[in-house]
């Protein structure tokens, strides 16, 4: 990308961040997360108890919010995108600016909503590893579902259908997929399932993020598993690195598809 494209992208990013800061959606998201986290810590009996609940909350809420904010933003911003594209603004810098302008504030809102109450409760020092993992998983999930939100919004031109598709993707990734995995585990219980299970996890970003959290919060249980592959995967840095790499791939590939769609789109 040329310098001019980069500077255009950065400008777009700046406008977008200011624009989002002005809308109440992100502040509301951060505040709701902060209230939930604070509630879990204070009424749930401390950080050790709150972290697992928070982890479940994060893998449910972050994908949903990221998807809905992204799809609705892309649709409501349609006219504005058109306006910008009638000026000397390239599509690639515009896309990247918009993408980062959504993913970064969403991620920042998430981190603020979770880390501020946890920090106030002192969890950052007492449960550093657990908190860091939940924060990392949530931040990566934000990026993944911002990418997927762009793909959905750019492919489903009707806002209502895009919203429907976003909800469906969320429901499938957050709940239904795991149900299918569980049924599959029973259906093929007689076979060695370790590797297939890990592959199935890799195919769903929500599961990858959850597995990342499980590695931090349930290492003792995972190490109690009989199979060597799980032991290797959950026992050390390799599994963690693979999970993070997997989430990065889940961010980059859909973002790349979305950018290609955006470059070909007619306004």
């Amino acid at each position: 990308m040329s310098d001019r494209s980069v500077s255009t992208g950065v400008k777009i990013l700046g406008y977008q961040v200011r624009d989002l800061a002005r809308s109440r959606a992100l502040g509301g998201y951060a505040l709701a997360l902060a209230l939930a986290t604070w509630g879990l810590v204070h009424f749930g009996g401390g950080t050790a108890r709150a972290l697992p609940s928070l982890a479940t909350l994060v893998v449910l809420v972050v994908p949903l919010v990221s998807l809905l904010v992204t799809t609705s933003f892309v649709h409501h911003g349609g006219d504005f995108i058109e306006l910008l594209l009638s000026h000397p603004v390239g599509r690639r810098p515009l896309f990247l600016g918009m993408y980062l302008g959504l993913a970064l504030p969403l991620g920042a809102a998430f981190l603020a909503g979770v880390l501020i109450p946890l920090g106030a409760s002192g969890a950052l020092s007492t449960h550093a590893n657990g908190v860091a993992t939940v924060a990392l998983a949530g931040a990566l999930l934000t990026a993944v579902f911002t990418s997927l939100g762009f793909v959905i919004a750019l492919r489903a031109t009707d806002p209502a259908r895009a919203m429907g598709a976003a909800l469906l993707v969320w429901l499938a990734a957050a709940v239904l997929y795991d149900g299918a995995v569980l049924l599959a585990a029973y259906r093929w219980a007689a076979y060695p399932l370790e590797t297939p299970m890990l592959v199935l996890m890799a195919l769903n970003p929500v599961d990858v993020a959850r597995v990342l959290v499980v590695m931090a919060l349930d290492a003792s249980a995972m190490m109690g598993y009989t199979g060597a592959i799980f032991q290797d995967f959950f026992g050390g840095a390799v599994g963690r690195a693979l999970a993070i790499a997997c989430l990065c791939a889940w961010t980059i590939v859909p973002a790349w598809v979305a950018m290609r769609d955006f470059q070909r789109k007619d306004f």
Binding site: D79, E82, L83, S86, H87, G90, F267
Partner: protein
């Protein structure tokens, strides 16, 4: 100067533009006309790079349009609908566009002065009336003194004073040698400013020539009447082309359907 060559645009199976060849000259105002759905806006969007042609190409100032959009430095565009971010003020939008265009010159604010828009520019768009938004829309198109001006239904929703000011602006552009393309339903307005007429119907160019020639060949005194003739002719053509009802066609005007 804009040259469109062999431009076809299909949305799915439906062709919105078919093999369009037109030339928007500099130092002239071209009226782009046609009934609703004729493909006027799509053609303009192809020129702006907002819509990707299925076939054919667009040359702006002799150069094929580049994907990074930097050629749009040379274009001022007034879209049909002034859909601006509701919470932004005109001033904020103008500053942002200045920034995005790396515009450091003196902006053309004649329309702003002429329409006394200063106060409204400080208000968020959501508080402005449709007419005022359209004025801001027009002012933004002129702002960068671009060599090419594309105005899509510029007078829709404008009061007579604003309309007159806009037309004055367009005329000034012509004298400065700039290229102006205007679509409008208000043919009366267009007649007073247009040099050229391009008439689109069902995605094809049905007439491309000077306003004077059009009035002469149709033997009409107003653009409105001439266009009405063109439309009847075109309808007749399409009916004939689809194999129905050839009798109503007026043989005297048949030649108008032949473009260039």
């Amino acid at each position: 100067m804009i040259r469109v060559r062999g431009l076809t645009k299909r949305f799915g199976a439906r062709a919105v533009l078919e093999e369009v060849d037109v030339h928007f000259r500099s130092g002239a105002v071209t009226a782009l006309l046609g009934p609703n759905g004729a493909g006027k806006t799509t053609l303009l969007k192809c020129v702006l790079g907002l819509v990707r042609p299925s076939e054919g190409d667009v040359l702006v100032e002799g150069e094929p349009i580049d994907p990074d959009g930097s050629y749009r430095h040379g274009i001022g565009y007034m879209p049909q609908l002034p859909n601006f971010p509701p919470h932004m003020t005109g001033l904020e939008l103008a500053r942002m566009l200045d920034d995005l265009r790396d515009f450091r010159g003196r902006p053309d604010e004649e329309l702003i002065e002429a329409l006394d828009l200063r106060a409204e520019l400080g208000e968020p768009f959501r508080t402005l009336s449709g007419g005022t938004r359209q004025k801001v829309n027009a002012a933004l198109a002129f702002r960068y003194r671009a060599p090419i001006l594309i105005l899509d239904e510029p007078t829709a929703g404008l009061d007579p004073v604003a309309s007159l000011a806009l037309k004055a602006g367009v005329r000034a552009c012509r004298t400065e040698g700039r290229t102006v393309v205007v679509t409008s339903h208000n043919l009366g307005d267009l007649q007073t400013i247009a040099d050229h007429v391009v008439f689109l119907h069902e995605g094809r160019v049905r007439y491309d020539g000077s306003l004077g020639d059009l009035l002469a060949t149709t033997r009409r005194s107003t653009l409105q009447e001439a266009i009405a003739d063109l439309m009847r002719g075109s309808d007749a053509t399409s009916r004939r082309e689809t194999g129905r009802d050839t009798n109503e066609a007026d043989p005297e005007r048949r030649h108008l359907e032949v473009v260039r």
